[in-house]
């Protein structure tokens, strides 16, 4: 990041993922915070900022609630309404650069699986009109987007299947991952469609868990326990207006977000050694590979089928297994994984010589964020 106040991730933490019955979302977030602070070699008394992320289905995850549980009164507190990992990271970086806080702990916790949260009804305006037409769950819109991609570019179900298969291969190397049972492309193709052309393996699981990060100035991070991971570039974009444009399901605005990311940062897709794509569905991975310039528009399927994103491939994608195989943590674990990979801590799934990672996330058809992380100073 240019300017005098560079920002770095100094610690990460992840709780067990899966089913955590009897636990509250906020309690899980606090456990993750403890882990991230310990990773950075800090205690809660060293933190002067707290950023949390509201749960989608309940009024929990609020900074005031988590701050009380954590027993702290930091200078700065905030909650994002839709805080995928890097939206929260960007808010922390802004708060630090502005001087509102110096060391911020960020956390997300959820008990959505044990609490049996309802993901059937779409999020956002028009949800009732969509439901009246049978369009429920993000799987519907993702299937519409993929079918259109097939129509326009000839992309096959097998090509899309490589998203889930490659991520499962990574997950088998990740002890934290929930789905580690082998999944071959033959298994994928033989499985029954849920919302055709999408299958179960194309859709995020629902799980309980927590993740947290400690973010501080690059200067302070140098004195802490772990090797700092610098936030080299950030970009975001919204797409709130889509009422006139069916094409919005393809999310072309992500291309504009990517353009801004590359042009402002000076980085290029070729610099990225590992790519993290928040994957509510596998279709998001296909779309973002193209919009972020890793494959020409319409050729993402070929890139996937080439094996590039698998272990040992030239463009490792979601080396944690992603939301399709590791856990459903709104992209937070993608960031945790990127940090561990950049520090060289990823064990048998370590990407050799990794220096630059890109993390991209999106909120349905509404907004997106991209962050370049690096151990280079």
């Amino acid at each position: 990041m240019s300017g005098s106040r560079g920002v770095a991730i100094a610690g990460v933490g992840a709780t067990a993922q899966g089913e955590l019955p009897g636990r509250s979302a906020n309690g899980i977030a606090v456990e993750a915070i403890e882990l991230a602070l310990a990773d950075a070699g800090l205690t809660k008394h060293d933190v002067d900022g707290l950023i949390t992320c509201r749960n989608l289905q309940a009024h929990v995850g609020i900074d005031e609630q988590i701050g009380e549980l954590l027993g702290v009164s930091p200078r700065y507190g905030a909650t994002l309404d839709y805080g995928t990992g890097n939206f929260s990271l960007h808010l922390a970086a802004m708060a630090i650069r502005s001087g509102l806080a110096e060391t911020i702990v960020l956390a997300y916790g959820t008990n959505q699986r044990s609490a049996k949260a309802d993901f059937g009804i779409a999020v956002g305006g028009g949800a009732e009109m969509a439901a009246a037409n049978g369009v429920v769950h993000v799987a519907g819109r993702a299937a519409l987007a993929f079918r259109r991609h097939q129509f326009q570019y000839g992309t096959t179900e097998e090509q899309l299947g490589w998203v889930s298969v490659a991520q499962r291969e990574w997950a088998q190397r990740n002890p934290l991952a929930i789905f580690r049972k082998p999944l071959t492309i033959e298994d994928y193709l033989a499985s029954e469609p849920f919302v055709a052309p999408l299958r179960r393996a194309d859709l995020t699981m629902i799980s309980d868990g927590g993740a947290a990060m400690v973010v501080t100035t690059a200067e302070r991070a140098r004195d802490l326990a772990k090797r700092p991971v610098n936030v080299a570039a950030m970009a975001q974009r919204t797409a709130f207006r889509a009422d006139h444009d069916a094409e919005s399901l393809s999310r072309p605005w992500l291309g504009k977000l990517a353009e801004e990311l590359w042009s402002k940062s000076g980085y290029r897709p070729e610099d990225v050694g590992a790519l993290y794509i928040q994957d509510a569905t596998s279709v998001w991975v296909l779309q973002m590979l193209e919009w972020y310039g890793f494959a020409p528009l319409g050729q993402g399927g070929e890139l996937l089928a080439s094996g590039a994103t698998r272990p040992g491939g030239s463009l490792p994608v979601n080396t944690n297994g992603g939301q399709l195989s590791e856990a459903y943590m709104w992209g937070w674990l993608h960031l945790v994984e990127a940090v561990r990979q950049l520090r060289g801590e990823a064990g048998e799934r370590q990407v050799p010589g990794l220096e630059v990672a890109l993390d991209v996330s999106s909120h349905d058809f509404l907004k997106g964020a991209a962050s370049i992380l690096t151990t280079r100073s």
Binding site: E128, M129, A131, A132, V135, L144, V195
Partner: protein, 153 residues
């Protein structure tokens, strides 16, 4: 038979005029009285020029399939008796898009993907219960179908 799905709240102030029109088998959408833009889904203000939206205008009832998907599993328990069914993203000549549920040209649920991308469909109406009429979209592919002529109006 009970309607296998989720019924809208037809008393909702914003959408009530849409459902009232559907009851009379008319497809309508809001149209801005200031700039003339159609708006979907229903909104308090015109997203184009911010004028309050009060007027509902009739639509042609024609649409083109931009993409489609087949729900083979109920992704919400309410639809368990409805699957499989086909949904589509539709482009309307009025310059708006709509999500819709597709019926075959004979008015049955499209369970086998009879409809294709680029096909023209025509608004149809389904009496879901004594109070609610839902909009459905019926394929217009059969030979000699009246609707096939209307494509380029």
């Amino acid at each position: 038979m009970t309607y296998p799905g989720i019924l809208p709240d037809t008393d909702d102030a914003l959408t009530a005029p849409f459902w009232a029109a559907a009851r009379e088998h008319r497809l309508v959408a809001q149209r801005c009285s200031r700039c003339g833009a159609y708006c979907w889904t229903p909104s308090e203000v015109c997203p184009e020029c911010l004028a309050p939206l009060a007027e509902w205008a009739p639509l042609s009832g024609r649409a083109t399939v931009w993409s489609l998907a087949v729900y083979r599993r109920a992704m919400h328990p309410a639809f368990e008796d409805a699957v499989p069914y086909t949904v589509a993203m539709l482009e309307l000549p009025e310059g708006i898009r709509m999500l819709g549920m597709i019926l075959t040209s004979t008015g049955d649920a499209d369970r086998d993907g009879e409809v294709r991308i680029g096909d023209e469909v025509r608004a149809d109406f389904l009496e879901a219960d004594d109070d609610v009429t839902l909009v459905r979209w019926r394929a217009a592919r059969a030979a000699g179908d009246d609707y096939s002529e209307a494509k380029h109006d």
